[in-house]
Amino acid sequence: MPTSAAEATSETDRRRAQPRREIIYRHAWPVRLTHWINALTIFILVGSGLNIFNAHPRLYWGQAGADFDKPFLAFARPWPDWLTLPSYMDLADARHWHFFFAWVLVMNGAFYLAWSLASRHIQRDLWPTAGDLRAIPRSIADHIRLKHPKGEAAKRYNVLQRLAYVGLLALAVGMVLTGLCMSPGFDAFAPWLVAALGGRQSARTLHFLFASAIVLFIAVHLIEVVLAGPLNELRSMITGRYAVPGEHD
């Protein structure tokens, strides 16, 4: 519907006259710090992981698996150079990157988990309540209609967010364990864990599948940030301050 210049002006005035949006302190510094370290770390781990994967682009189930064995999943062509790290195929260098940042991930993750459990961030903000779980169908409907919570509801994570973040934590733990189970040294230390995962090659397959799930999480996460107002969301993860969307926005 076309609007006149007068209407547009009155709209601007109305916005100016509105009281300022409520600003809350949403993300504590350990969450913000570990978030950005993680963002860089996952980027590097996925790139170097795909480079390592290219050395043998087939996945198996069980303890053993090589060229003659039936693959669980086989890739026709290697991952392209713009996705891998380094861009050229170099297993030795990709492993150096991967294992250095695997240590960063573990230390960053250990700090995050220790702080989040001690401060009850996980229990309070991430773990879904019974009420949250009952609201799953409504939350799914809201997400499909790209309807974002406003006012008081926007001050807490909705149930799908909670499930996604708790799921991400579980995936991260799974990444570390399946990664360790590919190490022959670790396997001598905890053969039971390798067996529980179905074997060394199963661990490698799961490592790939969990990583794929994390990449999917990141894609949805970025889309949601854009839809929910990227500047406000970005600011809240940098400064901690978040402008609560008003009830009538």
């Binding site: 590097i44 053993a64 698996g65 003659f68 022959p184 396997d187 970025l222 940030v225």
Partner: protein, 274 residues
């Protein structure tokens, strides 16, 4: 009121779009900046930073494996029907071909360096010594695994017989595949003499053996005939094939590229427990 609401929605959508473009741009420029990773990878000082993780991994595994934990051993039914052979598939050359033709009866394993009694043993001598058989999983650095049965002499037994002198820290294995990149002799993947080294902790481990049999038969050429090393808690590239000389040293920096092994000289980690 409806008009205003619709305008607000429009604005929010425009904000979202602009935000999305800005975010995408940031991400792309971040990517291109991170694409400097190739330059970083080439930088020796940066490699030195990454190498810190290697020493942490080694120290952590040494700590958790201090009890001399054994690699898992499998049942005969677990043995892979086809055990992939990798690296050199045939050392070739007149000397090695002659040994193959003779059935390796004149192949000798020399043990020297920092030992009290240097030894020279034929394959028949080794077969008369106490042996160990183990069915283990072989993990390649490339990602694949195969299960095979191995029989051979525990390296610890040979080292005790030779008498390791004080100050010796590493056991170096020299192999018969010296290829200089001749494709007819095994391909570009093996342009130099293959060698490997392990520390005494791994050398004395009960599952570390000089194997002469694979799956109940003498080793075939592709898998390292007549003698190969098995170091079960490490990756496949440590398990040198065609071994003919074992040397005890205090330092491997003067040997070949100085990193303790053929693949190590190409940038792979010396400690291959991960």
């Amino acid at each position: 009121m409806t008009i205003i609401t619709r305008q607000r929605a429009l604005l929010t959508r425009r904000e979202a779009l602009l935000g999305g473009l800005a975010g995408g741009g940031l991400l792309l420029s971040g990517c291109s900046r991170i694409l400097q990773v190739d330059a970083l990878t080439d930088s020796t000082s940066f490699q030195r930073v990454l190498a810190v993780a290697q020493s942490w991994t080694r120290a952590t595994q040494r700590f958790f494996l201090a009890g001399g934990q054994m690699a898992k051993e499998y049942k005969p039914s677990d043995i892979s029907p086809h055990f992939k052979a990798n690296g050199t598939l045939n050392p070739g050359g007149d000397d090695y071909e002659r040994h193959v033709a003779e059935g390796f009866v004149n192949w000798h394993l020399k043990i020297d360096g920092m030992v009290s009694h240097p030894l020279t043993l034929s394959v028949a001598d080794l077969r008369r010594l106490p042996s160990r058989s183990q069915i283990t999983r072989h993990d390649c650095v490339e990602g694949w695994s195969a299960i095979g049965g191995w029989t051979g002499v525990p390296l610890a037994l040979l080292l005790r017989a030779a008498g390791v002198r004080a100050g010796a820290k590493y056991v170096v294995f020299y192999c018969a595949d010296n290829l200089d990149g001749d494709p007819a002799k095994g391909g570009e993947q093996s342009p130099g003499q293959y060698y490997e080294s392990i520390g005494l902790v791994d050398a004395m481990h009960p599952q570390t053996i000089i194997a002469y049999d694979m799956n109940g038969k003498p080793l075939d050429v592709a898998h390292g005939a007549p003698l190969r090393l098995r170091v079960e808690r490490q990756l496949g590239y440590k398990m040198a094939k065609y071994v003919r000389h074992i040397q005890l040293v205090s330092d491997f920096r003067a040997i070949a590229g100085g990193h303790g092994g053929y693949w190590e000289d190409q940038g792979y980690d010396w400690y291959a427990g991960i």
